[in-house]
Every structure is written in structure tokens, then in C-alpha cells.
Symmetry: C2
Subunit: 332 residues, 2 copies
Amino acid sequence: MKHTILSTAVALVSGIAIQSAALAAADEPIQPIKPPASINIGMVELGKKLYFDPRLSKSGIMSCNTCHNLSMGGTDNIPTSVGDKWQQGPINAPTVLNSSLNLAQFWDGRAADLKAQAGGPIANPGEMAFTHTLAINVLESIPAYVREFKLVFGKDKIDIDQVTTAIAEFEKTLVTPNSRFDQWLLGNKTALTKDEQEGYKLFKDSGCVACHNGEAVGGNSFQKMGVVAPYKGNMPDGRAAVTGKDEDRFNYKVPTLRNVEMTYPYFHDGAANTLTEAVDVMGRLQLGKKFTKDENAKIVAFLKTLTGDQPTFMLPILPPSSDSTPRPTPFK
Amino acid sequence: MKHTILSTAVALVSGIAIQSAALAAADEPIQPIKPPASINIGMVELGKKLYFDPRLSKSGIMSCNTCHNLSMGGTDNIPTSVGDKWQQGPINAPTVLNSSLNLAQFWDGRAADLKAQAGGPIANPGEMAFTHTLAINVLESIPAYVREFKLVFGKDKIDIDQVTTAIAEFEKTLVTPNSRFDQWLLGNKTALTKDEQEGYKLFKDSGCVACHNGEAVGGNSFQKMGVVAPYKGNMPDGRAAVTGKDEDRFNYKVPTLRNVEMTYPYFHDGAANTLTEAVDVMGRLQLGKKFTKDENAKIVAFLKTLTGDQPTFMLPILPPSSDSTPRPTPFK
């Protein structure tokens, strides 16, 4: 259930074996997750510190990891997140796991990539409630950060571009290969039980794979929530807020189903607590299909085989503030 | 700057060498931190998960690590902590590092030991705002926890006593040996600069060691805040709230100075942002002594040599909730 950068490197070395096995799975709509390539390790280590550093928030207590908790599937497991001064977030925090595989970031895809996403929550008044300028002032006041940024980026000044680049590089490592389903795709035919295989067949035959496909089992298209029947939950504009097009209303990025057992509650409003409920709603609203109890259970059993090796690493130790570091203001 | 349980074990094996070196430092008022003995590793691993698990809070987003952040010296680096619904805490969160060496827990010593402390914040309405019963309901609903508790404690039911025992066992591992000061105590005479050694001499000669002594450089007595002159900050009753004795008013547990460079801001109300300020206030109020700028700087230089190896370990991966797990209620 665990992988490290070292084991990722080992997997890369044995890339030829993976490649030929992947060919065997080429006719499946879901592909095995590949370990990340071309990772800058120094940048990853810096980005990991930043990801865990609550000094990038106004209050001094919220980091990327607060809402995208890497102990809990890269999310916070509540319907919508808690922001600065306990503000209620408008939408469910998507998992950071395998987010490098998304066609764009956020439910409405308003950020083109991880780097563009990373700066958003820092400066969002409802989330970390800071500004990029203040965040840079904090980092510039911490000697060990100044040195590490210089080592990684070779520049004399830290800027927000470096901060988001480093965080994105760390996030690129947060993939979850080696799920039981991927083992099955790669040729280990005993990796799935009979029920799980039947669940996968139902998942394909019922049409779930039309949107939930590819390496991330989702994340690669925007789709309307409520195709056959309207969704009863909270409905922000979604993709239309980005494109301005009326036909994109209620279109959201299809969430990845990788590690879905860990990323409850489900949907953009986090209204579904269980996979059983989520599968039922999706079947009725998206496919016009009422799954029987047995079918539902088999699909859920299949979905639980998508839990991969969670990224594990040493908890980073953050460099202490200096006398000149601006102090957080949690209660102002 | 890092140690693991493995390196602790290695240190234990070479215990004879440590013992003889410790004799050389026996005439100093500060003693080297010793690695923990008699640790139950299985219990530590369980306790580590619980320490990081926000499902022990009403909101589902606060864990022990929220206010005692092991990336940041075992504290939250703000004057007083943020509790459930953004309530402002009444007192500075003390570091969890080396807290096993304290004569009692909390600033007023109201908990006899780590185990007695661990249950407090979970059920404190201003902190994690949960109840022990609800916390146990959550844990009992998570199959992987049920199995792990049974493995560690050999019982069929999880109870709060097991929870706090496991958290305390993990906390016993959070010691920080091998600071430069300890290296110096143990015979490496080049481990400290001339200024740092002079700072230590000033620390002893001025009387700081009267309270800040022993393995933790504090933590082993209750003392009045404001011996020579009254403290101007916020002054809760302190020890008197526990003993009911008037002479214990404004008495607080002397904080450890281990890793003090990382545990800012200082004092029970977190009012002092820098070590320079803290040393100045302590000199004037506790010792009736106004340190010169040069003396202050040397004492601060000495204090920074007390930063030891920070406990490092793999970020724990928490077992997912089940369909029957009661969901957190952050906004109710």
C-alpha cells in the first residue's frame, strides 16, 4: 500500500517489463497508472515543504495539506472545506492524488495545470486568505528557504512562480500505481475476485466508462451533471463560469475514480456519503439505469480495487521563522 | 537534524558509550536527552495514526497535529490556538516535543501524564469539540482500526483508555536528542562556538538554570511568572486552578527550552515573538537583571544550540471510514 520515490525509480528501471504488460491491457478503457517521469527531486523536496507549510496562509494554520490531506486520500473527507475564519467552501475539495493526469484543475477547469492551480487557494479570501506578495515576504524572511530556493531555481529572489512550480513538481509525484485493478490489467489475473471482475464488466457495459476512463478513470473531460434527470443538490455554474457558454452550465470535470474508497464524500457538493449511494445516483441521473442491489454491490467492489499505493514520505520538517518573519494573524 | 526509531535503536545499543560520556557532563545543570526506552512499536504506530487523525474532532479537520505540528517543533507557532469554529484558545499550545520529560502536562499541570493529557483536547468544546463516546463510535466503525486495536491491546472493544495510551506511547518517541549542545555535553568540545559557550555561562551565572535545568531544560517545576516585577500580559490563574491555593496563582509549568528556536512565540500567552524579547523579559521579571545587547545575543546563540534531531517518520496513511462511520459536522 506504500510507495516511495525510490520504489518509483525501481519501477522506472523495469519500464520495459511494464510497457510490454501494458500492451496486454491496451484494449481496456482503463489504463494502468504509470510512475511519474522526469521528476526534479530537489524541486520535489522544496515543493513538499511548501505543500505542508501553513505560513502560506493568513492564519498560519492552513496548508495545502489541510484540505488535500495526504493521510486521507489527498482530500479532507468533508462535503465542502473549512476556510479561513471557518468559512464554508462552495464546493467539494477534489483529491490531489493523480491530479497531474487531469485535463485541467478545479471542478470547472479554470486552471490549466497544477502550477496554475497551486496559487489559487493561497490568495482565495475564502480559503487560505493570504496574498502572493505576503506569502513571498514570509518565505524571503526565512533563511533556509532563501537558500533552498536559490539551490533549486538559481535565482536571488523568490517569486510566486517558483513557489507554484515547486508545489506542482511535488504534486506530480502524487500518483498511486499498483492498485489491485492495475495488477489485474498488467496480467495478474488472480488480483481481482469474481465479483470485482463482474463489477468491472457492469461498469463497462452500463456506460460508466464513457466518462470514467483512461489512466485516472476520469479527469479527462467535462460532463453535465444530470443527463437523464436533474441533480437535486447544490448546482454552481461549473464549466460555464469559465467559458461563458450556456451549454456548459452544470458541466463539471469528471472526477477521477482512483482511490475512490478514500475520497468520500462524493460529487461536486460532497452530498453522497457512500459509494453505494454515489453509484445509485450516477446510474439513475447519468445513465437512466437503476442498478439492482447486487449490481450496485459488484460495481462498488470493483471501485474499491482502484485504491493504489499511497504516496508515502517522511513528514517534512519546516525551517523556523526568523525574527523578521511577518507573523500570522489568525484572529484579525 | 533527523532521527528515526531505527537510529534510536542504534543509539540504545551503544548505550554504554553514552553512559560514560554522560558522566563527564554530570556536573552540568543540563543533561543530554536520552533516547526513549521500552517503547511498544506496534502501539507507537497506532498512536501515530490517531495523532494525525482528524476524525477524532467534531469537524473532521482537527487532529493532535493541528496544534502540535510535528513539522514545526511540535507546536502551531501562533500565540493561542484556533479551535473548533475558529474559537480562540486561552493559552499558548506547548510543544509536544520532549513532553514525556515534563513533571505534568498543560501549563497548569492539571494532567499527570501524557495519557491523561491526550484525552483533554478531544473533548474540549473550545478545541476539537468532540466527546470520547463519539470518538470511540468513529473508531469502532473503521474496520482497519478495529483490527489494529485488537492486535495492539488484545481486546474486542476499543475504549478511550486504549486511545490515549496509544497516543501517549507515540508521544514518548518524540524526543529530540543530539542537539549541538548535547554533543558538547557529551564531549565534542568543538560543537559550540565561543559565543555560544559564553551564552551558556551567562545562562548559568545569571540564574536562568534555577528553573531551566535537567534533560528538558525546564518542564520539571511550577514557577511564578513575574517574580521581581509583574508580567503585563494575559494572566490566567495557572497552577492555582488545580491546587486551589492562593500562593499558586500565576504559577505555570516552566516550559522546556529544547528546540526553543522552533517553538515561538513564547510564554503562556505567546506574547513574545522572538528569543531576544523573551530573554529580555525573563531577565527583568524573573531575575531583576537587564541583559546588555551583547549578553542577550550570546544567550540567544546558546539557546539555538538546543535544537535537536527532530522526530521524522513516514506520514501515516489513515484507514478509510466505512459506510457506517458517523460523518464529521464542521458546520453544525
